[in-house]
């Protein structure tokens, strides 16, 4: 199996790794870098549990080769806190009980941050539409939608 070397910035730290060429970004993050907050929920690019920010955009890391992220800035759920404080979107998820089992949660938070980058004040319909690539089987989305609206507001202020 041919190996390649990839280098990128992950959560602010430069990393370079030698991996089999077919390695997916999510595998690099989870298996090589131990960043297991990014999850794998499907094999058809539908669930969004694997979402990370690549150069500021939400990307399904199960659908991108590690090689394609060479040179990129990658932000995962582990990189959102600053000074030990939850990111406002993380805090909103907690405040509004937007997670139950927590498996979809990292992908949801990442998607929410991506949404707010595009629309600082999203309404309910916008939020629901934007989540079309993220499954949650626990919450019925009710509290996720509320949390994203509140998180967006907190990010504005």
């Amino acid at each position: 199996m041919s190996s390649i070397s990839v280098a990128m910035t992950v959560n602010g730290t430069r990393v370079s790794e030698s991996v089999p060429a077919r390695t997916l970004l999510v595998q690099l993050l989870r298996e090589q870098l131990g960043l297991t907050g990014t999850h794998v929920g499907c094999d058809t690019s539908q669930c969004g549990a694997c979402n990370v920010l690549v150069n500021g955009r939400a990307v399904k890391s199960c659908t991108m080769l590690a090689a394609q992220a060479d040179g990129a800035e990658v932000l995962t759920i582990e990189g959102l806190e600053s000074d030990g404080q939850l990111h406002p979107m993380q805090a909103a998820f907690k405040e509004h009980h937007a997670l139950q089992c927590g498996f979809c949660t990292p992908g949801m938070v990442i998607t929410a941050i991506d949404l707010v980058a595009n629309d600082a004040n999203p309404g309910e319909a916008t939020i629901r539409k934007y989540l079309e690539g993220n499954f949650c089987r626990c919450t019925g989305y009710h509290n996720i939608v509320k949390a994203i609206a509140a998180g967006a507001e907190a990010m504005r202020s």
Binding site: T44, C47, F93, G102, F135, R137, T139
Partner: protein
């Protein structure tokens, strides 16, 4: 009430780790020296395995071993057991076929495990799996529930005629037949409770590990009940005694029933780890989950309701054919029988109820409990047929229900299915829900929708569940092979902080918070000084785990009883230390006080004395402050409530939109209203999913699962759903110390009927009486076309 005690919407303590990526799900665990398993699965629904050639695979890069069913059989690995026996109507026993973890001479459903490849990486194991050469002889297959028991159907098991697992009867048949003879009106409805693929977002994972130094096995697994897995897999499948087997279920990403059962892969990795001398990890791909996680529901039913002249229900009779799949999963047999039939009386005074259940084998994935198991099927049948009766008799569905509800004054109420409802005010639930949903204003909304080209409908469902499983003596009489108590150990540490070891398991329910609230309330210890430990058989005395809405009612009660024992012992210690009469010692808010002297000691003072027993009644009391309780409930709990759903149907496309959903539930005492509302949201969403979206289909000829990915199987998304309105009507359970009834399944149990009743209500003006789930746009559109064509004739 303690600040963060019972009744407070405390924000969850587990959230921080999940929100920061610090959770530990099973797939996040890697063991030193770990190898990786890939399971070769049958591409055929039914096929003889003529030969398996592993040579090429075994020689492939990175491969450590390749095993087949013959290897496991040679090691005398047993069959995956079914934990619930059902007796046939003629008194004979049900048929239990073998269930080897790896199939030996025949594969019986697409996805059946046939061979195991272990390699240095998952990718290499998967590559090598392609090289396992299996010579199959495909056989005819049967997948449809209604077809399985028909003469001439393909046989799943040669030794089981007509694919019949059991034919059982529940309730009083003669009394029910007599009720139908007297009836002024009988409403009959044929319906299908559609098949569901549970789909927790975390796929199943299992890691087996063997320590040759002490002969101990460890299994890390995505389970709702690790002790049950230890019991089933240890002694019964692998011949391992419990003291040499540790089962750990760490953070688990949702279960909904599908992670209750003992699965083949758990036994396979545990067995294989010793064979290869290295830990073995298996992680399901989602496609594998579709063909290997136990599915849910899948009943074909004829339901009949007998009414007298005043529209009082006289009798309810159902005939159900329930699909078991190819093998009997752990609790499969109990779902259509006990769990479904016990609540067929529902919230009504119907005096006579009878159910005949035929369970059949098919060449499909095993079917077992899915959120609301059995009770959801029962409620769907009953509430659908009640609505149909209302239409036939020209009575408002609310009025028809009202005439037949069990009044709260009749509690405790003995049902014809031998359950005793302890409490509940079903009419109050319904009234509150009607008000919250503005039922009275519906016709205006319907008229407004019609102007927009939308057919608007409203539907309700009143429900009661038997939950809080359950009294062990009763379960034993009904065929269960296990007790249904729960255990808890409450360990007060020397300086007064507390660790609780619970046999319940949290995989989204929030026990680390809600159980701590119970302890905080009882012991007066602040939340941050309490830790809830679950999911490890080496740490926890025992446990039956989390299913059947039992965690707070049974697991929480066990914690309550253990806390009471701590307080009782603490009083003795306090009496000694204060030189007081024990009878004069009171305990409140974490403080022991002597009513005679007004002297006080904190729980921390007492704990320190218990562990440093210098001034301590050593002649009459053991040191330490660590109490264990096993709580066996005297009765089931009966969560109950009312749901109202409103839908709008696009006349052009048949698309159904849920425009509002209102729930009023009586879960008894609510520990954390925020968490409980979340359970309702999630449960209702699964019901809406089943009613409108989720469609599990098998190709009738090939037996292939045609909805085997998220491209084909429609999981509810955010924009398929409304915002929910949820209220609680707290009437404490009369027989457990917390007063809780359980809330995990209610949403799924009561919602399918409310949604479909709303859809039929919208379509009834076109003459449409019956639709089966899921009411997809295609199904609805076709029904509308057929109705319009019929009307034109």
């Amino acid at each position: 009430m303690a600040d963060n005690g019972i009744g407070a919407s405390v924000r969850r303590v587990e959230d921080d780790r999940f929100l920061t990526g610090r959770g530990t799900f099973t797939d996040d665990i890697d063991r030193p020296g770990q190898s990786h398993a890939w399971i070769v699965r049958s591409p055929h629904a039914n096929a003889k395995i003529k030969s398996i050639d592993i040579a090429k695979a075994a020689a492939a890069e990175g491969v450590l071993a390749v095993f087949t069913g013959a290897d496991m059989a040679a090691d005398e690995v047993g069959s995956l057991p079914c934990g619930w026996d059902i007796t046939n109507r003629d008194g004979s026993a049900m048929k239990t076929p073998p269930h080897p973890p790896l199939a030996v001479d025949q594969a019986r459903h697409v996805g059946d495990q046939v061979a195991l490849v272990i390699a240095e990486s998952r990718a290499l194991a998967r590559d090598a799996a392609e090289l396992v050469a299996i010579d199959y002889e495909p056989l005819a297959a049967v997948t449809a529930t209604a077809a399985a028991n028909k003469p001439g159907a393909p046989q799943v098991w040669d030794e089981i005629p007509d694919n019949l697992c059991y034919d059982s009867g529940w309730g009083d048949e003669a009394a029910t037949d007599a009720a139908f003879k007297q009836a002024a009106h009988v409403t009959t409805l044929e319906l299908i409770n559609s098949r569901i693929i549970p789909n927790p977002i975390e796929p199943r994972v299992a890691i087996g590990e063997y320590d040759a130094g002490n002969g101990k096995h460890t299994l890390y697994t995505t389970s709702q009940n690790p002790h049950v897995i230890r019991l089933l897999m240890g002694p019964f499948v692998l011949g391992l005694a419990e003291h040499k087997l540790r089962v750990v279920a760490p953070d688990v990403g949702g279960g909904f029933g599908s992670k209750i059962f003992h699965y083949a892969e758990e036994a396979i990795v545990t067995w294989a780890a010793k064979k290869v001398g290295r830990p073995v990890k298996w992680t399901a791909e989602r496609s594998e989950a579709f063909v290997s996680d136990a599915h849910g529901r899948d009943h074909v039913t004829t339901a009949e309701l007998a009414l007298d002249r005043g529209a009082k229900f006289l009798g309810f009779r159902v005939r159900i054919t329930a699909n078991m799949g190819a093998y009997l999963s752990t609790f499969s047999t109990s779902v259509p029988s006990f769990f479904c039939t016990s609540v067929l009386g529902g919230v009504y005074t119907t005096p006579a109820v009878y159910a005949q259940i035929k369970a059949v084998f098919t060449n499909t994935v095993p079917v077992d409990a899915y959120r609301g198991a059995g009770r959801a099927e029962a409620n769907y049948q009953l509430e659908r047929v009640v609505d149909k009766a209302a239409r036939e008799l020209g009575i408002d569905p609310v009025e028809l229900r009202r005439r037949n509800l069990i009044p709260s004054s009749a509690m405790p109420y003995m049902t014809p299915m031998a359950l005793e409802y302890d409490s509940g005010d079903f009419a109050a639930n319904m009234d509150a829900c009607l008000k919250a949903a503005d039922y009275a204003g519906f016709e205006q909304r319907r008229a407004a929708a019609a102007k927009q080209g939308k057919l608007r409908g409203i539907g309700l469902s009143v429900y009661v569940e038997a939950a809080g499983l359950g009294p062990s003596h009763l379960a034993g009489k009904l065929g269960a092979h296990a007790g249904l108590y729960e255990s808890a150990e409450v360990r007060v540490h020397p300086t007064g902080s507390v660790t609780v070891f619970t046999g319940s398991h949290s995989h989204g329910q929030g026990h680390e918070t809600t159980f701590a609230q119970v302890v905080s309330e009882q012991l007066g210890v602040p939340l941050e000084s309490i830790e809830i430990v679950h999911g490890d058989t080496d740490l926890i005395p025992f446990g039956m785990g989390t299913f059947g809405s039992r965690s707070i009612a049974v697991g929480g009660s066990a914690i309550m009883v253990a806390c009471d024992k701590v307080i009782a012992k603490g009083k003795k210690i306090a009496a000694h230390m204060l030189e007081a009469e024990e009878a004069n010692i009171a305990f409140a808010d974490g403080v022991f006080s002597d009513s005679a002297s007004n002297q006080t000691l904190t729980l921390g003072d007492i704990a320190l004395s218990a562990y440093v027993p210098h001034n301590y009644p050593l002649d009459s009391l053991e040191p330490g402050l660590d109490e264990t309780a096993f709580y066996d409930p005297p009765n089931f709990t009966y969560p109950n409530g009312c749901f109202i759903c409103e839908v709008e149907i696009d006349e052009e496309t048949g698309a159904v939109a849920v425009v509002s959903f209102t729930a009023v539930d009586d879960f008894g005492t609510v520990i954390n209203p925020m968490v409980v509302a979340g359970q309702v949201h999630g449960g209702v969403t699964q019901g809406i999913g089943q009613a409108l979206l989720e469609n599990c289909t098998y190709d009738g000829d090939s037996g292939q699962l045609t909805t085997g990915s998220y491209m084909d199987y429609t999981l509810p998304r955010a924009d398929d759903l409304p915002t929910f309105a949820v209220e609680h009507n707290e009437i404490p359970c009369a027989h457990n110390p917390i007063g809780a009834k359980g809330c995990g399944e209610a949403g799924a149990t009561g919602s399918t009927a409310a949604v479909i009743n709303a859809v039929i209500n919208a379509l009834a003006p076109l003459g449409i009486e019956q639709l089966d789930m899921p009411a997809t746009p295609h199904v609805v559109w076709r029904a509308m076309q057929a109705a319009k064509a019929a009307a034109a004739e």
